[in-house]
């Protein structure tokens, strides 16, 4: 059974890496806000969000390295891969924009991340189930906080409503990628490692509808959906994110920090 086992291992590595990359890149973007938030409480909340995502990403990267079996650490995977090897969805690498864009981006992700983590707790892969178990609490809080902001923006002032709607309209095209399936995901779902993505999408869609209705915001139509992130085909933003994130580490190869 060596061959199928290896194939499954490779799919598990890719699947874990995708989960990790989404969180790592979103955390990197959120970290840019630190010290520049609209009010001190939000500065703290955003930093906390960045920290939670980073913590989960680190657990996943460490595990991905173990699954791969080539001795790569969390830092090797974060700092020494190039753009084409990153597998996050493009939504995560989108610039922060105004606070509406940042919050809508997080909301669209949180509404996906929470049901995913809830379902992943029942994964046949014990390690992923354990990581998800830890993440659920945080993900619940993240979704509550971002939903509250979407509602405040939508039902706040005219300006905040317009900004939130604009952010939603701009970012909607990046949501399709969250629910894409391919051979890796199919294999992981068959093995009981990954949950059915259709169920996650249904859950996401319901949350989005509920929150947008309360916010008096309009759900954009499902038009053209961006794709490519899972295959390492990113937007031009990605190279700059990595240049910033990796430059010190790459300038001093192989040292301890």
């Amino acid at each position: 059974m060596i061959v199928p086992n290896t194939m499954e291992q490779s799919a598990l590595f890719t699947y874990t890496l995708r989960l990790a990359d989404d969180l790592l890149i979103l955390s990197q973007r959120l970290g840019e806000w630190c010290g520049h938030g609209p009010i001190l409480e939000e500065d703290i909340a955003l930093t906390n969000r960045a920290l939670d995502h980073l913590g989960e990403a680190r657990n996943l990267l460490t595990y991905a390295g173990q699954v791969e079996g080539k001795g790569r650490s969390e830092d090797d995977l974060a700092y020494l891969r190039m753009e084409r090897q990153f597998t996050n969805v493009k939504l995560m690498e989108q610039p922060n924009g105004d606070y509406a864009h940042t919050m809508v981006r997080s909301f669209l992700f949180d509404a996906y991340h929470l049901p995913l983590m809830q379902a992943l707790q029942k994964s046949t892969d014990e390690q992923l189930a354990a990581i998800a178990g830890k993440a659920v609490k945080e993900a619940t809080y993240h979704l509550r906080a971002s939903s509250e902001w979407i509602i405040r923006f939508g039902d706040g002032t005219e300006e905040s409503h317009q900004r939130a709607q604009a952010a939603l309209d701009n970012l909607w095209t990046y949501t399709g990628e969250l629910f894409e399936s391919d051979a890796v995901l199919e294999e992981m779902t068959k093995a009981g490692v990954a949950p059915e993505i259709a169920a996650i999408k249904a859950n996401w869609s319901k949350t989005v509808d509920q929150v947008l209705a309360e916010a008096t915001l309009k759900r954009p139509a499902d038009g053209f959906m961006m794709t490519g992130g899972r295959k390492g085909l990113h937007s031009e933003h990605m190279g700059f994110i990595l240049a910033e994130m990796q430059h010190v580490t790459r300038a001093y190869p192989g040292v301890a920090w």
Partner: protein, 313 residues
């Protein structure tokens, strides 16, 4: 007049008896003013201090360091919050206090007008800047104004953690490759003297100090605290093999303290006057965040009002 005099006597007697002054207690106007100035400056320092450190979050060289730095800068924001609340107990709103920062009227610690140029600066700030701040803050845990003293107890716990983390960054760099050690030494060279300036003017040139000591807002003089900091830090530098950039530094067997060189007070005054390397950038960054956040705060207020109205209906 006799009444006020009596009140002042009662106030001073309380302080002399080591009792805390609480928000509702009578206090001399000058005491109140002095504390509002000091606590708000302290609050602003925490918030402006987030900028030079936040500058390295996206570039931290390992994920562990990135997580530690995120948590640290988040702590500073929390300290800012406690301290703005402490100012509010004296009857000045947070908005007013922050407006004074944004307009350039209020001061903050000048140390944050220096740039963080390399990763080692994050180590140096934790080790030296937080280290120097702790000297002051440990003293302030026993300051006479209750809310300030209590905020400080919490802040000190976190700050001493930050100081150890900063020192550890420096220790790792100092025993790393020659390039890393050079980075650490360069950071120490740049941050050493500004850190000593953090304790403020010499006692001879510190006009408010005597009154602050009498009111037990301060309990140790600038020069005393500076000397304790130097004595401790010189030894810490030796342990990790870094050199303090002061050719006059020498152990004095008689005083049991280190003798050391002279602070460049011209530089100090210049930075305080607004001519430091980053004064303009720091204030611009705070103003930008405040202005760009205006619609967010307005939305929150508008929504809360709508919600309250609906609830009442």
């Amino acid at each position: 007049m006799t009444d006020v005099k009596n009140l002042e006597d009662i106030f001073q007697a309380k302080i002399d008896a080591e009792q805390k002054i609480e928000p509702k207690d009578w206090m001399p106007d000058a005491y109140r003013k002095n504390l509002i100035r000091q606590i708000s400056q302290h609050a602003h320092s925490e918030v402006v201090g987030m900028l030079p450190e936040g500058n390295w979050i996206t570039r931290a060289p390992s994920l562990k360091r990135k997580a530690i730095l995120l948590a640290k800068v988040q702590d500073e924001a929390g300290h800012g919050l406690y301290l703005y609340s402490a100012v509010e107990t004296m009857g000045v709103s947070r908005e007013q206090t922050i407006d004074d920062l944004l307009s350039g009227k209020a001061k903050y610690s000048s140390i944050f007008n220096y740039p963080t140029l390399t990763w080692a600066d994050i180590g140096a700030i934790g080790w030296l800047v937080d280290g120097a701040a702790i000297m002051n803050q440990v003293m302030l845990c026993r300051t006479s104004y209750g809310p300030y003293a209590r905020a400080m107890v919490r802040i000190c716990k976190e700050e001493s953690f930050h100081q150890r983390q900063g020192y550890e960054i420096m220790a790792v760099l100092a025993k790393g490759t020659p390039g890393q050690k050079e980075m650490a030494q360069d950071a120490l060279n740049r941050w050493w003297w500004p850190s000593l300036m953090m304790f403020g003017p010499t006692d001879a040139n510190s006009p408010h100090s005597a009154q602050s000591m009498k009111w037990k807002i301060k309990r140790q003089s600038n020069d005393e605290l500076r000397q304790i900091f130097i004595d401790r830090t010189v030894q810490q530098a030796e342990v990790i093999g870094l050199t303090i950039p002061d050719p006059d530094l020498k152990w004095n067997e008689e005083t049991k303290h280190y003798d050391w060189g002279t602070i460049d007070w011209t530089e100090f005054n210049n930075v305080v006057a607004g001519n430091g390397p980053c004064n303009k950038e720091r204030l611009a960054a705070r103003n930008k965040a405040h202005n760009e956040g205006a619609w967010v705060r307005e939305a929150a207020v508008a929504y809360a009002a709508k919600k309250a109205k609906r609830k009442a209906a």
